[in-house]
């Protein structure tokens, strides 16, 4: 629409009966989108309308002064949001358990000279208990409520898996730094196993996948290494490169496969 003439704006401002209803609507719609014409309107307002505006402004100022100050984005507020949205109570016991087990393994490794490093042996399994309970009906008291929200299912699983990794990875790095072990050998298998569990979860469900992975690793790698008191070839320094390749491939495949998997979004 072209800009209304000054006469039309004056007519609009003073409520001129000569202006018919469609014309008033057209001016009103135009004013909503045109700052220049609003400025011209402000210049042609009547004494009465200016008085009304002044009274409203006064009332508003008084109410704003009386109302409590708005809650700002304080640090404590962001912490509470982070804590409540990402690390809900259901994950906490599992994370505490994981960190405790890692601590015990480090302590045993320090006391028990001559044994293969327990930390290195259990490191790949560290995030799995947390991932297994991330989106389970029985593990989450508010499951019934959350299941009806758009974030239910895969979003929830990936979000909570990320939260688990955000705790487990720094914990592993800390323990690893204390024992002087190769950081890549601690973290790469841990990430590879998380991706593998999600991938396997698309077939059999995340909980079963996690239990399966933990059981096989314990039987095939941990038990024989402890019996033979030497480090398995799988976790020797030469295997580092293979772990890196495995991690990248598994993560990529997992990202491609998990979207749209019904098995992951509807746990039993």
């Amino acid at each position: 629409m072209t800009h209304p003439s000054l006469t039309q704006i004056v007519g609009y401002a003073t409520g001129d009966p000569g202006l018919d209803e469609p014309a008033v609507w057209a001016i009103e719609v135009h004013l909503e989108g045109c700052a220049d014409c609003r400025a011209r309107l402000a210049g042609s307002t009547t004494v009465q309308s200016r008085a009304v505006v002044a009274r409203v402004a006064l009332e508003l100022d008084r109410e704003i002064a009386a109302a409590p100050a708005p809650v700002g984005r304080r640090w404590s507020w962001s912490w509470s949001v982070l804590h409540h949205r990402w690390f809900v109570g259901t994950l906490l016991p599992w994370l505490v358990m994981t960190v405790t087990v890692l601590g015990c393994a480090a302590l045993l490794g320090a006391l028990w000279v001559g044994m293969p490093s327990l930390v290195l042996l259990v490191a790949p399994l560290a995030p799995l208990p947390g991932v297994a309970v991330a989106w389970q009906r029985r593990a989450d008291p508010a499951w019934e409520l959350i299941a009806t929200t758009p974030a239910a299912g895969l979003t929830m699983l990936l979000r909570r898996t990320a939260a688990v990794l955000a705790v487990v990875v720094p914990a592993l790095a800390l323990v690893g730094a204390g024992t002087g072990l190769s950081l890549a050998l601690m973290l790469l298998p841990c990430l590879a196993f998380t991706a593998a569990t999600l991938l396997l979860g698309t077939l059999v469900g995340v909980r079963r996948a996690a239990i399966g992975v933990i059981a096989s690793w314990t039987l095939v790698v941990i038990a024989p290494s402890i019996a033979a008191t030497r480090m398995p070839v799988l976790l020797s320094a030469e295997a580092e490169r293979s772990w890196a390749v495995a991690t990248v491939v598994l993560t990529a495949v997992a990202f491609l496969r998990v979207t749209g998997s019904r098995r992951l979004s509807h746990p039993d």
């Binding site: 809650v71 509470s80 409540h84 949205r85 809900v88 109570g89 259901t90 989450d140 008291p141 508010a142 499951w143 019934e144 409520l145 959350i146 299941a147 009806t148 929200t149 758009p150 974030a151 239910a152 019904r262």
Partner: protein
Amino acid sequence: MRAVSTAETATTTHPWPIHAEGLQVRAGRHLAVDGLDLALSTGVHGLLGPNGAGKTTLIRALATVLAPAGGRLTLLGQVVDGRCELRPVRRALGYLPQHFGYYPRFTVREFVGYMAWLKEMPKADIPGAVQRAVDRVGLADRADARLKTLSGGMLRRAGIAQAIVNDPRLLLLDEPTVGLDPEQRLDFREMLRDLGTDSCVLVSTHLVEDVVAACTDVVLVNAGRLVWRGTPEVLAAQGDGGHAGDSPAERGYAALLRQHRAEANR
């Protein structure tokens, strides 16, 4: 000139927010909803029925917790089956389960805010919407109390607050008045009438007087099937002095159920 996509030409309005045709839903192995036909429009609908009639199973299926085992279910114009994308429907959904678990260490405000976040509301709108929802159920003075310190009725109201926080177009309430005192029930009925003006509200309850006072429409189910549907006034006119009950609506309810059972046994 440009090509018009199907998404642009798709109808944005649909006659029934809830439309079930021959709906079957399993509760465990048992078919708790069996061949239910129901079309509900905007307004407050009361869902009545004896224990084990399939009310809770029906509400859970409408809330997209359970997938239908058979028949056809359309919510807000979207067909709900095992495979479809439920996100758009779930964004417009409010649900209060019969028994709901919660995180005891959350405050009321954190709990309602968490649910609003999961319902994917715009981030900037959440604090305002939470405050409005908490005000609306009369919990403003306990908004910063932890959930584990609340009484049963207050928890129920916190549950209602999380259900209405996203201004749902489809609101499903399973036994919402359990644990509310008489005054709160009056306020709740007032809120229901208010919500029913532009959303579809389905309230499951055992309290016939709640239905009569707050609902525009009564849906009576028994053994997983629709028995009767009509207005509360017509329900009240169904019974006479010979039927059990203390109010006309209760006598009407008893009369309809007895009549249905007699027909089923014949």
